[in-house]
Amino acid sequence: MKKKEDPGNRRKFLKNTLALGTAAFTAGAGAVLATDGAKGKSVEKIKVLTTEGKVIEIEKPVDDCKIHPCEPPKGKEARKGIPGRSFVMVIDLARCKNARKCIEGCQKGHDLIPSQEWMKVYLMKDNPESEPYWFPKNCFHCDNPPCVKVCPVGATFKRTDNAVLVDADRCIGCKFCISACPYSARILNWTDKESYASNDPNYSPETSLPGQHGTVSKCDFCPDRAREGKLPYCATNCPMGAIYFGDKNEDAVTNGEETLRFRQLIKERTGYRFLEELGTQPNVYYLPPIDKMFPYERGFSSVSDETKEMLKKSISD
């Protein structure tokens, strides 16, 4: 699916670039597309020449915009993906101590209530002999996504930059994708909220904001933050630097402190993908919980006693 869409998108991108073809002195052709980009961050305007010979005034690109256009696309544009990108995430299980900061950061950034977790942290125990470990799990943004296959209205889609997103304006809330996802990555907005709005002009599947009552939502890989050169909320909020985010094409992932070569990291640390045998081809990789930085019991300090009991029971089964 990804391969098929790629050439089309590149062509479209080139076409856009040519059509609006700015003079060489502009900071980048993409900036033209960002007509109302970076709202409130810069009011400085620059003049550029179009292919038709018209001089138009556009906003000068702001410095914190790393991928142009900076403004998250809406509607059909949001289905294409950022050209040339191939987002990937690596989670180092040896570092996770269930601080739950990734969950909180994500919830804050995406206007989620405490019961809605796009990022979840499970306590896993692979076999009776092995030691339990904490397992942060978001949406895996699979290359062969079972959720996208079953969506009856095309509300969820796979992009060329690997992100699997939900268009909440399209979603009918049939929940088929929730039942189809083998990783329990999707949730429904069960209750209405004041901040929710349907068909909001500012809504973009990249930001998933504002949310909508009765529609499905899930981790969106934060492509809107990637445009600004920022890491996803979970990665920036992790105190242990367990979550690396990056680009497969650039072969680089970073947790904000260190930047590593993605392929080398996966090769040397025996990175794996969860339930590889299902053939969903996730884009989230795990580094095995070898030489854990903390004993797993430390993770219990951030949860209630009740949760602790439940978790303990869960791994003893």
Partner: protein, 451 residues
């Protein structure tokens, strides 16, 4: 003509059922309407409050609604399938059952999709299914199947009504009913005069519709099964789902047919129409179906169990745990497989009432089986649920879901009440026809013979 006279006689017999409604009928209709009105209120409540007032949560995203959906559509496809087979097979004794079967088909085909609508988080966007359909999705397969089936079923049902409408039109002066109804029959009969040419044409159409409706039902219900089978979930991802669903559907269809026959027989003293033989024949088909069902279940279970996978084992533990689904599991197996074998199979227990009671238990058992197939499997994802919120980890339907389920039953009965006034509950004209008069269309030899 002989058959016309016979039809008149029969009509005379069934006249009381279709004439002006009596007080009892009106009371029943009012009670049912009241239930339906309450259902509409609950529905509005659900739309306003959101699905949070149901028992559905992020793990068990489909609950009783989808169980009802699967169950009711099964009845529908079964009705069509059985009616088609009886018609094409020219099964003489089954003639009086034809209309009930087709009515079951139509009503459940209307009620079933309502349940899937109840499952939608955004029912206001229902039309997106037609505006933005994606053929890859099993839900769209279902939409196509249901719409196609509905068109065929309505056409088929209507064709079978035409002769009776004509009969009612011709005998209108003797009938005690409002004039608008007499005019309606005139309109609905489409000028059918039972000329040999018209009769031949109509019979051919019926044969063609019956032949179409059989594969349509099988395909449509298999598509519904694949709604589950296509998922990567242990417990659903199985090739047996399609055939198993079709078998369960036929099973439930016959059970419901027996129950409806029993109700009519007891209430309206229709012993001559729905004879002991009908109950015996259908009772024996229940036994055969229960054996087939047992075989299918066994084959599914043994494959699951022999080399059990981790996740499969987790939901099997729930099936066998009496504090969880053990009771439902046992009851379902008992009602669907063993009760028919014992209470119909052993002559000592066999009676009209016992066959009807067994049918009811079979229906309950099949509903429970659908529940077992859906809810515990959803409660057992690949990554075990770690949640202290009880309603998040375990599904239990709320009063909202039960109310709306009962509303569906009320709607079904109300439809039956209304349609049993429209025309006799048995196809009078068809029953009056001589045996072997209408050749099956495939036995026509040449075009010349056709004309």
């Amino acid at each position: 003509m002989n058959s016309n006279l016979k039809a008149k006689e029969l009509l005379e017999e069934y006249k009381p059922f279709i004439e002006k409604p009596n007080k009892l009928w009106i009371t029943k209709a009012l009670i049912l309407s009241a239930i339906i009105c309450f259902g509409i209120y609950v529905l509005i409540l659900q739309v306003i409050e959101g699905h949070i007032i149901t028992g559905m949560r992020d793990n068990v995203v489909w609950g009783v609604y989808i169980v009802n959906f699967v169950f009711v559509l099964g009845l529908s496809y079964a009705g069509a399938l059985i009616a088609g087979i009886f018609h094409l097979g020219r099964v003489e004794w089954a003639k009086p059952l034809q209309r009930i079967l087709k009515l079951i088909t139509l009503f459940s085909l209307i009620i079933g999709p309502i349940y899937i609508l109840l499952c939608l988080g955004r029912p206001d966007r229902l039309l997106y299914l037609f505006i933005h359909p994606r053929l890859q999705s099993p839900i769209i397969w279902d939409v196509i199947a249901i719409v196609t089936d509905m068109i065929f079923c309505i056409a088929y049902l209507y064709f079978t009504y035409i002769k009776d409408f004509a009969l009612l039109r011709d005998n209108a002066p003797h009938l005690n009913m409002y004039n608008w109804r007499k005019r309606m029959y005139k309109f609905l009969a489409l000028g059918y005069q039972n000329t040999p040419e018209q009769s031949k044409l109509l019979n051919q159409s019926l044969d063609i519709m019956a032949a179409i409706i059989i594969p349509t039902s099988i395909v449509a219900y298999s598509l519904l099964a694949w709604l589950f089978g296509m998922n990567l979930r242990p417990g659903w991802h199985s090739s047996i789902f399609g055939p198993f669903f079709v078998l369960s559907a036929v099973y439930s269809g016959i059970a419901l047919l027996i129950i409806i026959m029993w109700i009519y027989r007891k209430q309206y003293k229709m012993e001559k129409t729905f004879t002991d033989n009908h109950f015996m024949y259908l009772g024996f088909s229940l036994i055969i179906l229960s054996l087939f069902y047992g075989y299918f279940s066994f084959s599914q279970y043994i494959t699951d169990w022999y080399n059990i996978q981790k996740t499969t084992e987790l939901f099997w533990d729930k099936y066998l745990d009496f504090s969880q689904y053990g009771i439902i599991f046992t009851l379902s197996a008992l009602f669907v497989v063993f009760v028919p074998l014992i209470f119909i199979g052993i002559p000592w227990f066999r009676s009209i009432n016992s066959i009807a009671a067994v049918s009811l238990l079979v229906l309950v058992g099949l509903w429970l089986k659908r529940y077992l197939m859906i809810v515990p499997v959803l409660e057992t994802p690949y990554i075990p649920i770690q949640d202290i919120r009880e309603d998040w980890a375990h599904y239990s339907a709320t009063w909202v879901e039960w109310s709306l389920s009962i509303t569906g039953i009320a709607l079904f009965i109300l439809f039956f009440l209304i349609f049993s006034k429209l025309a006799p509950i048995v196809p009078v004209s068809e029953m009056a026809e001589e045996k072997g008069k209408n050749k099956l269309i495939v036995f026509y030899k040449t075009k010349r013979e056709l004309s």
